[in-house]
C-alpha cells in the first residue's frame, strides 16, 4: 500500500519494518480483492456481486455495514457525553480514540452505502432534489450526514495539533460542549430511528424481533455497542500501539475498562429487562418454542445475558482480560441482533429455500470496508495525538 511509503518518509514514525508483516499481507489481500469487486459492482450492477433479490432488497451491506456499523460507532457520543456532560474527567484520555473510531465508523458507513444504493451519485437527492419527510430514512440520512460533520469537527483538533494549526485548534476546542450536546441529540435520533425503520414492516419481521419499542431497543443497544467498542478498541490499541500512549493514557486505561464494563453490565441488564417486558406486553411467549424462538434465545442468553454477567464479574474482580473478551462478545451480540432484524428474522414467512444468503463478494466488500477503517485508524494514531496528549497542548487538557 502507498500507506507504507508515506510511513517511511515520515520522520515522526519509528522506522518501518519489513513491508510483509502479517497485518500488511492480510490487509493487502483484502484491499486488492475489495478493489476488484468494487469495479465489478459499479460496472455490472448490484446483481453482479450480490445475492439480493426482490424479497430481500437489503442484505448484509445494510444489516452489517449500516445498522451494526452505526451502532458500533456510538462510542464517540457515549464517551464524550460521559466526560464532558456528566463530568467523568477520569475517562478523558478515552475521548479522542473513541471520537476517532466513531468518525471513521460513520465515514465507512457512508462509503458502504455507496455500494448498496442503486444510484449512489444521487445520495444527496433527499436534501437537494425532493424531501421525503414522511420517511424515517430521511431522518436517518439527515442525522447521519450532520453527525458525520460533527464527528469530523470533534476529531479535527487532533489533526490540527499534528499540523501545528494552533489558532484553529483552539477555536474548535472552545466548541467542545456545543458539539457534544449536538452529537448526543443526533445520535439519540438516528440510533433509534434505525430501529424505527423496521416499524413499517410488522408483517415481515418476526414478532419476537418486531416491537413498537424497536427504536428504544436500538438506542439502548447502541450504548452497549459504544461502551463495548471503546473497551475493545482500547485493548487492541494497547496491544499494538502501546508505544504511542502517554502516561496519563496508560494510567487511566484500566479505570476506563472497569468503569465502562460496569456501565455496560448495567445497560445490558436494562436492555434484557425491557426486551422481556416487550415480549410480555405483546404476549409473544409461545413463539419461544419455535425454531426462531430458539434462535432468539441464543441471542438473548448468549449475547445479552452472558456478557452482562461477565462484565459484572470482570468489573467486580478487576479482571481486565475477562472484560476484554466480554467486550468482543457484546460487540458480536450487537452485530448478530442487527443481522437478525435486517436479514435472518426478516421475511420469516418465506420458505427456507427463498431465504437470502450473502454472496461471497458481499462479504468481501464488508471486509474491505472494515479493513479500510483499520488501516485509516493505524495511519492516524501513529501520527496524530490520539493516544497521547500533544506536548505543546498538554496543559490545556
Amino acid at each position: 500500500m502507498s500507506e507504507e511509503a508515506v510511513l517511511n518518509t515520515n520522520p515522526i514514525t519509528p522506522p518501518a519494518q519489513s513491508l510483509y508483516t502479517p497485518f500488511n499481507v492480510v490487509a493487502g489481500i483484502i484491499l486488492i480483492v475489495g478493489f476488484i469487486v468494487t469495479i465489478l459492482r459499479f460496472t455490472g450492477g448490484l446483481g453482479a456481486v450480490t445475492n439480493l433479490n426482490d424479497n430481500y432488497p437489503w442484505g448484509i451491506w445494510i444489516g452489517f455495514d449500516l445498522l451494526a456499523g452505526v451502532a458500533l460507532a456510538a462510542g464517540g457520543f457515549v464517551t464524550s457525553a460521559a466526560v464532558y456532560i456528566f463530568g467523568m474527567k477520569r475517562y478523558h484520555s478515552a475521548v479522542r480514540p473513541a471520537i476517532l473510531t466513531g468518525f471513521l465508523g460513520y465515514a465507512l458507513v457512508v462509503i458502504a452505502l455507496h455500494y448498496d444504493v442503486g444510484r449512489p451519485w444521487r445520495l444527496p437527492y433527499p436534501f437537494i432534489a425532493q424531501q421525503g419527510t414522511t420517511s424515517i430514512l430521511f431522518e436517518v440520512a439527515a442525522c447521519v450526514a450532520l453527525y458525520l460533520t460533527v464527528l469530523f469537527i470533534e476529531f479535527s483538533p487532533a489533526a490540527m495539533e499534528w499540523l501545528g494549526l494552533r489558532r484553529a485548534r483552539n477555536i474548535v476546542i472552545k466548541l467542545t460542549m456545543v458539539l457534544t450536546i449536538f452529537g448526543v441529540i443526533l445520535s439519540t435520533l438516528h440510533q433509534s430511528s434505525l430501529g424505527a425503520m423496521f416499524l413499517i414492516a410488522p408483517s415481515k419481521l418476526h414478532p419476537l424481533w418486531y416491537s413498537s419499542h424497536l427504536p428504544v431497543y436500538f438506542f439502548i443497544s447502541s450504548i452497549i455497542a459504544g461502551l463495548s467498542m471503546v473497551i475493545f478498541e482500547s485493548s487492541l490499541s494497547h496491544r499494538y500501539f502501546a508505544h504511542k500512549m502517554d502516561q496519563t493514557h496508560l494510567d487511566e486505561k484500566e479505570g476506563v475498562a472497569f468503569g465502562f464494563a460496569k456501565a455496560a453490565a448495567l445497560v445490558l441488564f436494562g436492555y434484557f429487562a425491557i426486551k422481556v417486558v416487550g415480549i410480555a406486553m405483546d404476549n409473544n411467549w409461545h413463539y419461544l418454542t419455535t425454531g426462531y424462538g430458539a434462535w432468539f434465545l441464543v441471542e438473548m442468553l448468549g449475547f445479552v445475558a452472558l456478557p452482562c454477567f461477565l462484565y459484572a464479574v470482570g468489573a467486580r474482580e478487576k479482571n481486565l482480560n475477562l472484560i476484554k473478551w466480554t467486550s468482543a462478545l457484546a460487540v458480536l451480540g450487537i452485530v448478530l441482533n442487527r443481522l437478525n432484524i435486517c436479514v435472518i428474522a426478516f421475511n420469516y414467512h418465506l420458505p427456507s429455500d427463498e431465504k437470502y444468503v450473502p454472496h461471497w463478494m458481499e462479504i468481501a466488500i464488508s471486509l474491505f470496508v472494515v479493513t479500510l477503517g483499520v488501516v485509516a485508524f493505524r495511519f492516524i494514531v501513529t501520527r496524530m495525538p490520539i493516544l497521547y496528549a500533544h506536548p505543546d497542548y498538554q496543559e490545556e487538557h
Binding site: 430514512l137 441529540i185 424505527a196
Partner: protein, 363 residues
C-alpha cells in the same frame, strides 16, 4: 349531534396539545390521515371467475413494453410454481390447489394494489411515489436513489428492482396503466381479460358491486372484500370463494394504514431535539457545579490546613521566642549576678585592703 361535535372538539384539543408538545415540525413530518381521493378508480378482481389464461400478463407485457418472457404467455406450466412480481413482470397469475388432486384450482392475479395510503410512498426519502387522484400509485424514476426501502415496506411484496442495471436501475411495479387511464382507456389487463374477472371503475361503486355479488351468491363467496380495509384500504379489491389465506393473500395485515406505524416516531423528533439540549445542559451544569463545589471544598480544606499549620508554626515560634527570651534573661541575670558578685568581691577586697591599710597605718 352533541357527541359528534364533542368528539371533534376533543380531537382538536388533542391535536393542539400534540402540536404544542411536538412543535411545528411535527406537521411537516407526519402524514396527514386521509381516506383516499373521492371518485378514485380501482379494479375488482373476482378470483372465482379467473381461469388462469394469463391474457392479462401478456397484455401487461405489451402495453408496458417489457422484455419478452422466457416461456410464452400461453404456456401454463409456469403456473406450477408460485411466482411474484419482478423487474420484467408487473403482474403474475398464480394457481392454488387445495390438494394435489384438486380439480378446481383457484387462480389469483397479483400486482400492485395501489394502496390508499401506500407504505412505499410513506417510506421513500425522496418522495418518489405519489398516490394520484385517479387512484394509481405512480413512481418517479428521476429522483429515485435506489435505497429499496419501498421494497422493504410494501406489505404485498410488490416493487421489484433492476439489479442487473449498473447505471440506471429502477424500482418497477404496476402503474395501473395510469397513462392509458388518463387517455380514457382501460388498463391493459382489464381490457384483455376474456372472463370479466377484472372490473375497472369507481372504487366506491366496485365495493357496492362486490357486496351485491356476495349477497346474491353467499355460497360462492366468502363474506369479505379483500382490499376494502386491508392496510387502510387499496384501490384493487378481491373476491374469493375460499379463505384468502388459502389463495396466498395475507390475512394478518390488519387495517392500519402503513404511515401510522412510523408517525409516532417522527412526532418524537422535535421532542428529542427540544428536550435533550435542555436536559443535557442541565446535567452539565449539575456536574460542573459538583466539580466547583468539590473544588471549593478542596481549596477550603487547603486553606484551613494552611492556617492551621500557620498557627501551629506561630505558636512554636512564640514558644521558641519566649524560651529564647527567658534564656536571655537568665543569661543577663547570670551576668548581672556575676557582675554583682564580682563587685561585691571587689568591694570586699577593697574593704579588706582598706582595713589592712588602716591597720598598717595604726602600726
Amino acid at each position: 349531534m352533541m357527541s359528534v361535535s364533542r368528539r371533534k372538539f376533543l380531537g382538536w384539543l388533542g391535536a393542539a396539545g400534540a402540536g404544542v408538545i411536538s412543535g411545528g415540525a411535527a406537521n411537516a413530518a407526519s402524514n396527514k390521515h386521509f381516506k383516499g381521493y373521492p371518485d378514485s378508480l380501482g379494479v375488482l378482481h373476482d378470483t372465482t371467475l379467473c381461469v388462469g389464461c394469463r391474457s392479462c400478463e401478456a397484455a401487461c407485457n405489451k402495453v408496458n413494453a417489457l422484455p419478452a418472457p422466457q416461456q410464452d404467455f400461453t404456456d401454463t406450466t409456469v403456473l406450477e410454481r408460485k411466482r411474484r412480481t419482478d423487474s420484467a413482470a408487473f403482474t403474475v397469475v398464480n394457481r392454488f390447489k387445495q390438494s394435489e388432486s384438486d380439480k378446481q384450482p383457484v387462480f389469483v392475479k397479483k400486482q400492485c394494489n395501489h394502496c390508499l395510503e401506500p407504505a412505499c410512498a410513506s417510506v421513500c426519502f425522496v418522495g418518489a411515489f405519489k398516490k394520484s387522484p385517479q387512484g394509481a400509485v405512480i413512481y418517479d424514476e428521476s429522483v429515485c436513489v435506489g435505497c429499496r426501502y419501498c421494497m422493504i415496506a410494501c406489505p404485498f411484496e410488490i416493487p421489484a428492482y433492476e439489479y442487473d442495471k449498473a447505471l440506471t436501475p429502477r424500482v418497477v411495479k404496476c402503474t395501473m396503466c395510469h397513462p392509458r387511464v388518463l387517455e380514457g382507456k382501460l388498463p391493459g389487463c382489464v381490457e384483455a381479460c376474456p372472463k370479466e374477472a377484472l372490473l375497472f371503475g369507481d372504487r366506491d361503486k366496485l365495493i357496492k358491486a362486490a357486496r351485491k355479488r356476495i349477497e346474491r351468491f353467499p355460497e360462492r363467496y366468502v363474506d369479505h372484500i379483500y382490499g376494502e380495509h386491508e392496510m387502510g384500504g387499496t384501490s384493487w379489491l378481491y373476491l374469493s370463494g375460499s379463505s384468502f389465506e388459502q389463495i396466498g393473500m395475507r390475512e394478518d395485515l390488519g387495517v392500519t394504514p402503513a404511515p401510522k406505524f412510523t408517525e409516532g416516531i417522527l412526532g418524537a423528533v422535535p421532542v428529542v431535539a427540544g428536550l435533550w439540549p435542555v436536559l443535557l445542559t442541565g446535567i452539565y451544569a449539575v456536574s460542573k457545579r459538583k466539580d466547583k463545589v468539590a473544588q471549593e471544598e478542596q481549596s477550603q480544606a487547603v486553606s484551613e490546613a494552611v492556617t492551621q499549620a500557620e498557627s501551629q508554626a506561630d505558636a512554636k515560634l512564640k514558644k521558641a521566642l519566649a524560651l529564647a527570651k527567658k534564656e536571655k534573661e537568665m543569661a543577663v541575670k547570670k551576668e548581672v549576678k556575676k557582675a554583682l558578685d564580682k563587685a561585691t568581691l571587689a568591694k570586699k577586697e577593697a574593704k579588706k585592703k582598706a582595713q589592712e591599710e588602716a591597720t598598717d597605718a595604726e602600726k
